[in-house]
Each structure stands twice: as C-alpha cells, then as structure tokens.
C-alpha cells in the first residue's frame, strides 16, 4: 500500500542543518497537517522529500512504498507519484500552462494516452473546480500570476497530475476568503483512499474545510507533537508558546 515514510531525518541546505531527526508516515487515505512556526523547517522538509539537489541528507531515510527514494532525482520521485505544491512557485516565461501540463502529464502517466482535445477537456474540468478561468491554459507558467493565482495553479497541477502522495506547502496562504474555500473544496475532492496528503499550513481555516486525520507540530526541525484535528484548534487559540515550552522540558 502507498506510504511515504520519513525516518529519523537529519538534513540541511548550504551547510546549515535544519532538520534534526524527523519521523513521519503518510499513508494512502490519510490527510496530515503539518504546522509550526516560521523557520521551523517545513519547506525544507518538502524540498528534501522532493529531492532538490542543493539539500543534503545527513542521516535517516525517506521511503516510498518501502523503498528508499533518497538517491533519486526529482523527476523520478515525481514519476513514482510524489507531488509538491510549492510555497513559492517558479515563473517560466514563454511556456504555456496547457502545454506544460501536457508534457508533465505524459511523463507522470505514460500509460494513459490522451489526445490533446481530451487532455484539455480533462484540464478544463479541474480548472472549473478551482474557478480558474480557462484562459489560464494559454498563460505562461506562473508568469505574472498573482500570489493567489499561483497557489491555485499549484493545486491545479496536483489535480491534473494525480499523484499518490501530495505535499501542499502553504497552498492556502495568500488566498482571499472565497478562493480559500474553493481551494479547500478542491483538495477535499481530490482526497481519496488512494492518495495520501500532507498539508503544510499556518491556519485552522483550511482545516475547517479539509479535516485532517493527523496534525503535527514542527519546532526547530523536529515534530514535537502529533494529535488529531483538535490539536490544530488548540494552536489557533493558544499559539505555539506552550508547545515550545513543553518541548524544551522534554529535551532537558
């Protein structure tokens, strides 16, 4: 069965150690929320999982379906069904969203051959879900997109590329109230027994629509607390202070 397992992960970037022994397992059918203060290492985790070459793993392992993926370049991980919705998506001028999605889809699902019109209909359906205007298909990838549009475009890519394990890094940040609802509903729609989802978020608002099975709190490169959806509510009320204090007590 599909599962992403992170075991005792120590990792960093450009010589700076950021993750200090992180454990996490996301199985198909589960929705996990990962929360934590700014700078705690959430995005770092996402890039280590996706395989950014600048990020180094010092210790530990990451397994997909029981096999280590640490030696694989990002495109292989993607083709195995791993997806990352970026906190800061890159702009690629001159490449139309539609043709980009088509190229990516072909790489990820070589078994599903779709003619162009069929594929574009498939994309349009998903754009509708996200209330993205179909004209976005002819726009250059993220080029000149507003902050919120970029986030929706990331979620669109997830819906189109249909991964088995999806990590969404703050896909809810920068969205207006209606857009947040739309995006949340789209994620909810995407959730199924076949996919595992890791939502990196700062806000309870998203979790009001997409109920997580597990909530994890990350502080200083470690998961210091895990619980059910009520944990997120508690954080919303109390902030991270109490968790940090407890964490310090545990360590000393």
């Amino acid at each position: 069965m599909t599962a992403l397992e992170v075991k005792n992960l120590h990792a960093g970037v450009d010589g700076k150690a950021i993750l200090h022994g992180l454990d996490l397992t996301v199985r198909a059918g589960e929705i996990h929320a990962l929360m934590g203060p700014n700078g705690s290492g959430k995005s770092t985790l996402s890039h280590v999982l996706m395989g950014h070459i600048r990020y180094e793993v010092y210790e530990g392992d990451v397994l997909l379906d029981g096999t280590s993926i640490l030696g694989l370049l990002p495109h292989y991980r993607a083709r195995l069904g791993l997806f990352l919705g970026f906190q800061y998506p890159q702009e690629v001028p001159g490449i139309k969203m539609g043709s980009f999605l088509n190229a990516a889809y072909k790489r990820m699902h070589p078994e599903n051959e779709m003619e162009i019109p069929e594929f574009f209909a498939y994309v349009d359906e998903r754009m509708n879900l996200l209330k993205l205007d179909p004209s976005f298909g002819a726009r250059y990838l993220n080029d000149g997109f507003s902050g919120g549009e970029k986030k929706r475009a990331e979620v669109l890519q997830m819906l189109v590329l249909a991964p088995r394990i999806a990590i969404l890094d703050e896909s809810d940040s920068g969205l207006d109230i209606d857009a947040l609802k739309t995006v949340a509903e789209a994620i909810d729609h995407f959730a199924s027994p076949e996919v595992g989802i890791l939502l990196i978020t700062h806000y309870q608002r998203l979790l009001d629509y997409v109920t997580p099975d597990f909530v994890h709190v990350m502080v200083d490169g470690r998961i210091v607390r895990s619980g059910g959806s009520d944990l997120a509510q508690k954080l919303e009320e109390l902030g991270y202070k109490w968790i940090k204090e407890e964490a310090t007590v545990e360590v000393t």
């Binding site: 980009f100 990820m108 250059y140």
Partner: protein, 466 residues
C-alpha cells in the same frame, strides 16, 4: 523499481550528403577567369559581368574584417565557387534530378509546399533546381523565381534594383558575392496584392569545400503584403564551406514585407551574410532571423527607414553550441521622420559556444520624432559559454525616444528543480526554459516552422549537454 536512463541524441539531422554528378563545376579557387566563366555560363548581359568584376576587384582590395569573428581558417583558394547540379530550373518536382529531389523530400519541402505554401524555390549548391508559385498568384502578377531566371525574364526591373542597397563595395563578403553570385530568390509582388501564405525558399549546400553565394532580391510594390521565408542546411564535413549571401529588400510606400530566415547550418559552415532593406513611406519591414549552427555567423539584418512613417521590427535569435560563434545583431538606420524600430535579440550559448550581439541604431539629422526600442537578452546554459553585447548608437536628433535594455542570464537551478518536480528530466526542463526564452520568436513563425524550430533547438541542447 526500474528507472531507465533517457538516451541523448546528438546528431545533426541534416548532416547527410548525396553523391551526385554535377553538370558543371569550376576549378577550385577564385580568379578573374572564374568570374568571367560563371558569367559566360549564365549567358549574362554585359552590365552584369561588369558588376561582377567590380565586386571581384573590390574583394581583392578589401582587407578581411577583424572586428567580428575569427575568419583565419577560410582558405579562399580551397573553395569551389560554382557547382551546377542540374540543367534547368524545374517547374514540377518530376523535372528535378532524382537524387536531389530525394534530398528535398527528406527535408520535407514538397510536403510543406502541398500543405501551406504559396510558392517554393529550392536551391542546391549554386543553382535553383525547382521553382513554383501558385497559379492564382502568378495571375495577379506575383513573380517568385530564381534570381538568374529573373535576370533574363525581368531585365529592367532587375537592373533598376540590383546592388542598389548593397553595392559591390559594401564589404568584403558582399564584394565576393557580387563577383560569383549564383541562385537566390527573386520576388516581386505588385501594387496592392496581398499574398496570404508564405513564399518559401530552401537553400541546401551539398558539396564539400563549397561556396554558396545566393543573391536574393525582393521587391514589394506599394501597399502589397507578403511573407518570404527561407531555410538553410548543409551536410557535416570535416572541412569548411562558405555561405556568403546578399539579400536586398525594397518595401515601397505602404508595403508590409516580412522576411523570415531559419538557418540551421552544420558546424563547419562560415555564414557571412549581408541583409539590407529599404523601407519607404509608411511601409513596414519585418526581419525574423534565426541562426542555429554554423562555425561562425556574421549577420546583421539592417533596415534603412528612408520614408516618413516607416516601421521596422527586427527579431534575431541565435543559438551557439560547441565550436560555434554567432556574431549577429541588427541595424536600424532612421533617415526620415516619424519612423519606428523595434529590435529584439535573444541568444543562447552552451558548451563553450559564443554569441555576440552587435547592433547599430542611428537617427540622422532631420529625422524627427523617431522611436526605437532595443532589447537583447542572452541566456548562458553553463559557465564555459560566452556572451558579449556591442550596441552602437548614433543619435543626431534630440527628440528621438530610444530605449535600450540588455540582460544576461543563467538558467536557475530552482526553475529546473521546479520543472523536474513535475516529472521532466533535467534536459527536458532545460529545453523547456530555453524554448520559453525563445518563444517571442517562435510565436512569429508559421506553425510548421515553429514545431521544426523547437525540435532543432531541443536536439542542439541535448547534443551539447556537458
């Protein structure tokens, strides 16, 4: 888990060559006799022979240009200046010798002709071997034929314009071209005629140590509109070939003329081309110029804005991989008021390739209210490649509005990573970024050409990945 490695294809697809028997060829090397021989073979009028000799004598006098690329390895004595592949210019592909026809088949020309072209010309080494224009265009007076044939059939109009934009003394390679020119396209579109589909010429060098010196003369009469497009390829040899063409384009008042070139030479061709256009009152000249391959290209399409209200747009893209130097750019010379120019240059260098942008923007005294916009962007795919920019400006009127922007960039690791996270290999990601960078050019091409251009660029990039 089985993960296959993608294979890399680094072949130059057009590198094949044919063994054909030439109908005629001159001995290697250049002399006055060779010039006379070529003119005699073509049975030319006296004025043309004189013009050729003028070119030849200037060629001898003129020193090699030393301001651009490295020309030291050109051995003028080791080049064959004239190679005639067939007896006549065919009007149907059946009249073209089998082997040559097969070559153009492989290059996809007859197929493109059937699908979307208004007229086609095909040149093989020195001579045009095929020429055909759609009937309804011929009936409207559109002339599209080999330049040699035009000299015979339209002597007056030919003499009126030939070498008026690029005189024999213009530069060393224009002088050489004038001396030994052969082939090229002649286009005349009459007043008010609009040609919807492109007129296309295809230039193929087949022989080793060959010099191809086509001469193209394009005249757009008042208020006409058309698009001329040309493609070039050559086989891969170990020794060098020389392509020294001259192109003259005249846009009469109100005419809209677009000239697109897609050059994809093998990397042993010296490509030294003089391209110049005159844009008369309220006319528009558009150069769309792409250079892939060649050992050295020196080419700066120029537009002289001679009539009030004339406009030009010059779009130049260049790719230089290993062992290639693209010294390209554009010139806009504003000689009249209310004229506008826009120059966009995009270059990509990789694997030690070198690109140079050389531009010239001039606004003459008395040319008021000129607008010009120059933009050059260079993309270097690795640290061993090189890119230089030399924009010259002579602005003699204060009310000219000139903008100039230049950028030099590298492909960002984060962009590659982003694309790879969507299942693309590093190569595919790099291709995508480059194609995106060049899209401003590609979108100006007819669809079929855009597809072909993208394919060529992908092949070059993959072949040059370190």
């Amino acid at each position: 888990m089985v993960l296959e490695q993608e294979t890399v294809n680094r072949e130059y697809k057009y590198g094949f060559r044919d063994d054909i028997e030439y109908v005629y060829r001159t001995a290697k090397g250049l002399s006055e006799d060779v010039v006379r021989e070529i003119s005699g073979l073509k049975d030319e009028p006296e004025w043309m022979l004189k013009m050729r000799l003028r070119g030849y004598s200037h060629f001898l006098e003129r020193v090699m240009p030393d301001w651009g690329g490295d020309l030291d390895d050109i051995d003028f004595d080791d080049i064959r200046y004239y190679l005639k592949p067939s007896e006549k210019e065919g009007r149907s592909w059946d009249e073209v010798p089998d082997k040559i026809r097969e070559t153009f088949d492989r290059l996809g020309i007859p197929e493109a002709e059937r699908k979307f072209l208004a007229g086609v010309g095909a040149q093989y080494d020195s001579e045009v071997v095929y020429h055909k224009t759609l009937k309804h265009l011929e009936e409207q007076g559109v002339v599209f034929m080999g330049t040699d044939a035009a000299l015979k059939e339209y002597p007056e109009i030919f003499k009126e314009y030939f070498a008026t934009l690029v005189p024999p003394e213009d530069n060393k390679f224009a002088a050489l071209n004038t001396a030994v020119w052969s082939g090229g396209s002649f286009v005349y579109v009459p007043k008010g005629v609009k040609v919807e589909q492109p007129l296309q010429a295809y230039f193929r060098i087949n022989s080793e140590n060959m010099g191809q010196f086509e001469r193209t003369l394009i005249i757009g009469d008042e208020d006409c509109q058309f698009h001329y497009i040309e493609g070039c390829t050559a086989p891969t040899y170990t020794t060098n070939s020389l392509h020294a063409a001259v192109v003259e384009v005249i846009a009469k008042p109100g005419a809209i003329v677009r000239y697109t070139t897609l050059q994809n030479w093998s990397d042993n061709v010296y490509n030294l081309v003089t391209k110049r256009a005159y844009a008369y009152e309220n006319s528009t000249v558009e150069w769309v110029d792409a250079n892939i391959g060649s050992r050295l290209t020196m080419k700066y399409p120029s537009v002289y804005l001679v009539g009030k209200g004339a406009k030009t747009e010059i779009l130049s893209v260049a790719y230089a991989g290993k062992g290639m130097h693209q010294d390209a750019g554009a010139k806009a010379i504003h000689l009249a008021s209310d004229t506008q120019s826009r120059i966009t240059s995009k270059s990509v260098s990789q694997n030690g390739g070198r690109v140079t942008y050389r531009g010239h923007l001039a606004v003459a005294k008395g040319a008021r209210n000129v607008k010009s916009n120059v933009r050059c962007d260079a993309l270097m795919l690795d640290a061993v490649s090189r890119s230089d920019t030399y924009p010259y400006m002579d602005i003699e009127e204060e009310d000219a509005s000139i903008t100039h922007e230049a950028t030099v960039g590298k492909i960002s690791e984060d962009v590659l990573y982003y694309l790879m996270s969507r299942g693309l290999t590093e190569n595919e990601a790099m291709n995508m970024v480059v194609l995106g960078f060049l899209e401003i050019f590609t979108k100006e091409l007819p669809m079929e050409y855009a597809v072909e251009f993208n394919r060529l660029i992908k092949m070059e990039i993959e072949g040059n990945v370190g």
